[in-house]
C-alpha cells in the first residue's frame, strides 16, 4: 500500500475512534438526562460518514483502482494530498464551529462553518477528479 493510501486509511481510523468516543459520550450523557451535548450529534454522523467511511473508501480506491499509466500508476498524487488536507481541515473546522454556534453564537463561527463546507466539497471534487481517469476496463477502455 503506497504512502497516500496509508495516511488516508489511518486518518479514517482516527475519525472512527473519535466518533466512537463521541458516540459513547453522547449515549452516557443522554442516559443521565443531560441534553446539553445534543448539538454534537450532527458532528458524530459526519465523523462517521465523511471522516471514516468516505475517507476510507477514497484511500482504498486510490490504492486499488486500475493504474492511471505505467509511468504514473496513481496519476497526479498532488490532487489526493490537497483533498486529504481539505477534507480533514474542513471536518476539524466543523467540529469547532458547529457546536459553538449552538452554545455561544458568534459571527466568526458562521464564517468558519461555511468555510468548512466549502473545504469538504472541494476535497470531494478533487478525489473525483483523481479517480475519474482510473475508472477503465481492460486495455484502458473508458
Amino acid at each position: 500500500m503506497y504512502l497516500q493510501a496509508q495516511v488516508l486509511i489511518k486518518t479514517a481510523l482516527l475519525h472512527l475512534l473519535a466518533a466512537g468516543l463521541l458516540g459513547g459520550g453522547l449515549l452516557v450523557s443522554t442516559a443521565f438526562g443531560n441534553a446539553s451535548l445534543a448539538p454534537l450529534r450532527p458532528l458524530l454522523y459526519h465523523l462517521l460518514a465523511v471522516g471514516w467511511i468516505t475517507q476510507l473508501i477514497a484511500g482504498v480506491a486510490l490504492w486499488m483502482f486500475p493504474p492511471f499509466s505505467r509511468e504514473r500508476p496513481r496519476g497526479n498524487e498532488v490532487l489526493g494530498w490537497v483533498a486529504y488536507g481539505a477534507l480533514n481541515s474542513g471536518l476539524i473546522l466543523r467540529a469547532i464551529a458547529e457546536p459553538l454556534l449552538s452554545w455561544r453564537p458568534q459571527p466568526w463561527q458562521s464564517i468558519i462553518l461555511a468555510l468548512s463546507g466549502i473545504l469538504q466539497a472541494l476535497a470531494i471534487w478533487l478525489i473525483v477528479i483523481a479517480l475519474w481517469p482510473r475508472i477503465k476496463g481492460r486495455g484502458g477502455k473508458r
Binding site: 460518514a49 467511511i53 468516505t54 473508501i57 480506491a61 486500475p66 466543523r94 464551529a97 458547529e98 454556534l101 463561527q109 458562521s110 464564517i111 462553518l113 461555511a114 468548512s116 463546507g117 466549502i118 469538504q120 466539497a121 476535497a123 470531494i124 471534487w125 478525489i127 473525483v128 479517480l131 475519474w132 475508472i135 477503465k136 476496463g137 481492460r138 473508458r142
Partner: protein, 147 residues
Amino acid sequence: MPLLARIMIRTALIWQALGFSGAALLLAAKAGVAPPIFWNLLEAHLQALFFGWMIQFAGGVAYWIMPRFDAAGNRGRIWPVVGACIGLNFAAVLPTLRAILSMLSLPAPLWLAALGGLSAMLGCAMLALHLWPRILPFRNLPRHADG
C-alpha cells in the same frame, strides 16, 4: 473493470460531488450566510450520498471485483445489477427533483419521495440478489470444455 461497473462507479462519483456540494450549501444556510431556502436540500443530500454515492459505489466495485463463476470471467445474470443501478439512481434523482421544485416554490408532491424510497428498496434488493451467489470460498475455477 466491466462497463456496468464503470457506469455505476462514475455515476456514484457524480452523486458524491453533487451531494457534498449540496452539503456545503446546507452548512452555509445553517451558518446563516446563505438563505434558509437551501434547507430544502437536506433530504436530497441524504439520499444522494447514501443511495447515489455509497451504496452505488460499493455495488459497482462489488460487481467488478467479487468472485466469478468460471475461468472465463462469468459474473452471472446482469439484469439485477442494471435494475440496481436504475433503482439507486432514481432513489437519488427523485428527492433531488423534489428539493428543486420546493426551492422554486412549485408543488413538490410527497409521492416523489415515496417513489424514491421504493426505488431505493428495489435497488438494494436487486444488488443483493446479484451479489449473493457470488459470495464464494476460494476454489479452482471450472474451465470450459474447449480448455
